[in-house]
Subunit: 256 residues, 2 copies
């Protein structure tokens, strides 16, 4: 029932945490673990701490980059403890559970957790549609990574059980509730989208590649929030191409 | 604010679990730990895993029996994974959090967790007013004791936050939660925005004004969903103007 939901651990240092996380997600009925560039894996320590969840470790996928881990996902939620310079759409753990419940029947969903000491980098957080934060003590808010997985996975399960009972979340989440007429494009299509957009802006003389300032991050945030459907995606690609064509026509005309 | 709430661990075998539990409860703003007849305490392993929560270990009370740990409490809730021969009033984790929230302002409350391998004995469970169970996978429901503490303490904190903010806060949209760095533009600014966009697309030769088909409606829907902030709004207006400037430059160059 949770076959579309994966837990992604980025750059985990301690083998014990991988094992504990595997156990945590399995207790909540999840099964899919993806490890992005783990320090040590597989390891006997992870297996020991996984207890009865060694099957989760055995089927865990190891990849080199976050991009690979989330390529086919249409909803990516990244755990974030700190407040960021550019705020991102933010969910608490309960809202994240509800959103995953609403969407995981439609497309693959990733819940992403960062390093023990410093979480996810800003660049990694910018690849997420939403950030999730577990409400915690103001002075001591550092949950162990396996504990964070436990709480979020628990909320996913609770949301599922509530939905089964007919207790539907009353919140309005953009796109989540609405039956949409077009598919949402997966993350893997968005990298070339951003590259195309930036190239078009540079060729049009709108963006200085040597001094982009915050613009690429803001564009990323904007489109992450939007989560384009296929038709919208194609519309933008067409507009970017048109901008490039105009820029190149100007260059040609100037040459004579 | 949680001064009336204590976490009680009965007969814990592994020092590491005591340390992890201390960390877990402290992240949720709790401070009181009572250890009933622990196998090893204090220990360097517990302190290592407590991370920044060694103060919780330092002030932990060690007692010989559960009776001593809960003597002054008017609400005692015991963690129970299995269903028992004699059914007891049973709460799920969320309900337990809500009950603790309702009562902890009035009198001391204990949340009791059992041994790693077999939880609380029937006799111990019968000393509790309620049992609490964390909804878990039917085939693999064994949460690590520190993970169980984490989830229950999280629900206590959530219930507290909900009571503080009111349930209405839960029903708002994700964007409303995030402290955003820029104002969201009012709807009144969007009409000229759409006109500007369409004009730019027409002048660029991308949109046929005599046959726009569904495009204006789709563009409207897309930006309504997005709810632009002021900086994003200005960014787009700049891009539209740049498209118009390119189109007009092409016209000029062709003339001359």
């Amino acid at each position: 029932m949770f076959s579309n939901i994966r837990i992604v651990l980025v750059n985990t240092s301690l083998a014990a945490n991988i094992g504990s996380a595997a156990r945590a997600l399995k207790t909540m009925g999840l099964r899919q673990l993806v490890l992005v560039d783990p320090k040590v894996f597989p390891s006997s320590e992870a297996t020991a701490l996984a207890s009865g969840a060694s099957d989760v470790l055995a089927t865990a996928r190891v990849v080199a980059t976050l991009e690979e881990a989330i390529a086919d996902c249409s909803l990516v939620i990244g755990a974030s403890a700190r407040s960021r310079t550019i705020p991102w759409p933010l969910l608490n753990a309960r809202e994240a559970g509800e959103l995953v419940q609403l969407e995981s029947s439609k497309h693959p969903v990733a819940l992403v957790f960062g390093r023990e000491d410093r979480g996810l980098t800003n660049e990694e957080l910018h690849q997420c549609h939403y950030h999730v934060s577990i409400p915690s003590d103001e002075e001591y808010g550092v949950l162990n990574v396996a504990s964070a997985v436990q709480v979020i996975a628990y909320e996913v399960r609770m949301a599922h059980l509530m939905a089964e009972k007919g207790v539907v979340a009353q919140k309005t989440m953009p796109l989540a509730h609405a039956p949409w007429d077009e598919d949402i494009v997966p993350v893997s299509d968005m990298e070339q989208f951003f590259t195309h957009f930036e190239t078009a802006l540079i060729e049009s003389g709108f963006l200085d590649p040597n001094n982009p300032r915050q613009m690429p991050a803001r564009v990323r945030r904007m489109f992450s929030r939007l989560r384009l459907d296929r038709l919208e995606y194609n519309l933008w690609r067409g507009i970017f191409s048109r901008m490039q064509a105009m820029a190149s026509e100007i260059t040609q005309l100037k040459k004579g």
